[in-house]
């Protein structure tokens, strides 16, 4: 429907612009990622983007939607980048391709396309893949461990001998390390998987995402509610656990910079389509995700909890939004 009625003025913004800003905000994190962990993630981003665009175009065609308009909205590209950043950078090419295809075809278009998907497509893809291919989804290079050629070779079909090629992610190291008898957090923290604060190398990637997130805040693409509630919730629960059992649970800073926490706080949980929309709803939604993330990290079967936490909270969004409607003008109780 193209309107002939007022308002005749429209702000110069568009979905394309919103998504473009998100991509721009991802760049600092991506650059640090590449600098520390190598070229692999760039290849993954490329693969995911191509797959996403092809799948998006195919689905738009099948659903007979205007191709140029919807392909240009960049929403598929954002999904692709998030998948590439959440997946291991040296996973085989088909892993990210299958994940992205799943995200676009099933999680997005089968649910009705842009704006209709109840689940975050990138996280749905991550969850599906880690359940199906737990080993492949857990192979991560250590910081500076593998050269570009070696990473490319791995992605495009090199022989994979897990231990020889990959170091454990900090969260993995923590999990397996703590299961050893007499293990103590302090010793583990001195092992090679850990850096200045948090996991080695990961702390700086997290800083990159933080910078991008602050940019999104400044540009008013996102509001403070989700990042603050998620980071705050995670810090709070981690700090309490660390205080009660310092030998078992790492400190808050570690939790905050490990895994997909920063990416989640600013880029994943802030996805408007699958997230809560009211201000209070956002606080509940992201706070709940923080608690779930921490629980899954320490008591669940998977290395990181952000994806599952996001999906679980996605399920609660309709209820949260319904119960958190802000009071209307003239009906407030001050």
């Amino acid at each position: 429907m193209t309107s002939l009625n007022s308002p005749y003025l429209r702000q110069a913004n568009s979905v394309t612009q919103v998504m473009g800003e998100v991509l721009l905000a991802l760049l600092p994190g991506v650059i640090v990622y590449v600098y520390i962990f190598g070229i692999g993630v760039l290849i993954q981003i490329l693969l995911a983007t191509l797959t996403a665009l092809v799948c998006e175009a195919g689905m738009l065609k099948i659903r007979s939607k205007p191709l140029g308009l919807y392909l240009g909205d960049l929403s598929a590209v954002v999904t692709a980048w998030l998948i590439a950043l959440a997946f291991p950078p040296i996973g085989p090419w088909w892993l990210v391709v299958a994940g992205t295809a799943l995200a676009i075809v099933v999680a997005k278009h089968l649910y009705g396309g842009l704006g209709q998907n109840p689940f975050n497509p990138a996280m749905a893809a991550y969850a599906a893949m880690i359940v199906s291919f737990p080993a492949l989804m857990s192979q991560w290079p250590g910081a500076g461990q593998l050269g570009g050629a070696a990473q490319a070779a791995l992605i495009f079909g090199g022989e994979r001998i897990a231990d020889a090629i990959t170091g454990a992610t900090p969260l993995d190291a923590l999990r397996t390390g703590l299961h050893a008898p007499n293990a103590q957090l302090i010793e583990l923290m001195r092992s090679q998987a850990f850096g200045a604060f948090g996991g080695r190398g990961w702390e700086w990637v997290s800083v990159g995402f933080l910078i991008g997130g602050l940019y999104l805040l400044a540009r008013r693409i996102i509001t403070w509610h989700v990042p603050l509630a998620f980071a705050g919730g995670l810090v709070l629960i981690a700090a309490i656990a660390h205080l009660l059992a310092p030998l078992r649970y790492p400190d808050a800073l570690f939790e905050l910079t490990a895994g997909a926490a920063m990416l989640g706080a600013f880029f994943i949980l802030t996805d408007p389509v699958s997230g809560a929309a009211t201000p209070r709803g956002k606080l509940i939604y992201a706070g709940g995700a923080a608690i779930l993330t921490w629980i899954i990290r320490h008591f669940g079967g998977y290395p990181d909890g952000v994806a599952f936490a996001t999906l679980l909270m996605n399920l609660c969004v309709p209820l949260i939004d319904m119960k958190t409607q802000p009071p209307v003008f003239g009906h407030k109780k001050d």
């Binding site: 429907m1 193209t2 309107s3 002939l4 009625n5 007022s6 308002p7 005749y8 003025l9 429209r10 702000q11 913004n13 568009s14 979905v15 612009q17 919103v18 205007p66 308009l69 919807y70 909205d73 929403s75 396309g113 842009l114 704006g115 209709q116 509001t223 408007p272 389509v273 997230g275 929309a277 009211t278 939004d321 409607q325 802000p326 009071p327 209307v328 003008f329 003239g330 009906h331 407030k332």
Partner: protein, 526 residues
Amino acid sequence: MLRQLFRFHGGVKPATHKTDSTRLPIGRVPLPAELIVPLHQNVGGTPYPLVAAGESVLKGQRIGAAEDPFSSAVHAPTSGRVIAVEPCVLPHSSGLRGLCVRIEPDGAERWIETAALAWRSLDPDELRDAIRDAGIVGLGGAVFPSHRKLRSGKGGLDTLVINGAECEPFITCDDMQMREHAAQILRGATVIQQMLGARQVLVGIEDNKPEAIAAMNAALQAAALQNIEIVAVPTRYPTGGAKQLIRILTGIEVPHGKRSTQFGVQCFNTGTAWAIADFVENGRPLLSRIVTVAGNVEQPRNYEVLFGTPMSHVAELAGMQPDTDRFIMGGPMMGFRMPNFDVPVVKATNCILVGSPALFPSPRPEMPCIRCGECARACPTDLQPFEMYWHARAKNFGKAQEYHLFDCIECGCCAYVCPSSIPLVDYFRFAKSEVWAREQQKNAADSARVRFDFRNERIEREKQEKAEKLAAKTAAARAAAQSTQETAPAAEDDPKKALIAAAMARAKAQREAQAQTDAAQDKKPE
């Protein structure tokens, strides 16, 4: 003294485009060849015509009279001859026709006899009737009959808000009137203040009009008026909404469906205050208003325009450009597209916004809602437009109402910010009209039922009355027969009593039926 101001949620800051039309003073408009004066220019009932084709009229002569207390009068804007009283296209986006008085001016501008009103000594009801018959309605654009707002609620009134905010882009008619006629606006405000018994008057003006603020302050000082304050308020659309301005100045939020007088506040537009002063001081009814001509014209400017003047006549004075494709009455945020260029200027016409494809390009194609919440952040009534949109689109109007559809003031902020370019307000207008239509159908059914019950009752009643009369007659006959034998006056009372009782029962039935109809009407939403 710096007054504490309050804020309302949301709002937007579009480019104001106001400077161009404030360079020149308010201009005069030569008489057009013909004036087309619609009878229905106010909220409320349509006035009925007082003149017929061929009659000559004087300037200021009443040509349409208020038909009920909710209506207002209409006058001949100049002297001349009535060519016809017939339906013409109204300045309404629907292209609807309505009864208009077409007048051919004679150019003599012969006035009716006018005299100042001794309004202070007039009975309040008489004064209100006089204001109704002077055709004064809200000139901010709402055209609500002023006489209906000129009564203080129970418990008196604390604050009279004079609305000079003028928040819509392009429109500067109030701005220019305040610059040029500040003193008269203030005099009008004091008349309103006294009629309402308001303790204080607050004149709210957006701070992007420093000249108007200065002029009003100067006039205030010159007149040495007490309890009136000119308040500069931050520029943010829609500050000029009555409820928004009341909120800013007093902190009070008047909920939908409630009158501000219940909270001790009443609000009038600056132009209305001017018109009321003109009427009580000079006896002149409302014949013209200040109209901004802006947009796709060479020289945007304000003009004093007689009602009934074709819009094109005014726009051409300002140098309408050849690529003009539409007139919008009002501003770009809430204005309405006119069905043609020649519809007349009416009391609601604060602005003729001359549009072109370049000035107002058609919006980008609508995309799906991404639930980004921009609309909710911009909504001045704290609504969740995307939820209402969702339900309106699904034709789930009940749900839309649960999300406070009828609190929506159609300000357009949500559609203005939506990155998916969704014409949200269109959906809300559509949903509202659907709800109204359904209510109307239901009301029609209800009143049909009431009518049916009423008819049954009447037949029943007539039967009863007949029986009673018969009984009374026979009783009287019997009594008469008896009284010839023995004088018994008591029997004479009986038939009378029976008649009185029957009459009372009738009245009761009538009252009940009336209550039913009233109840049915109350259900209609605003």
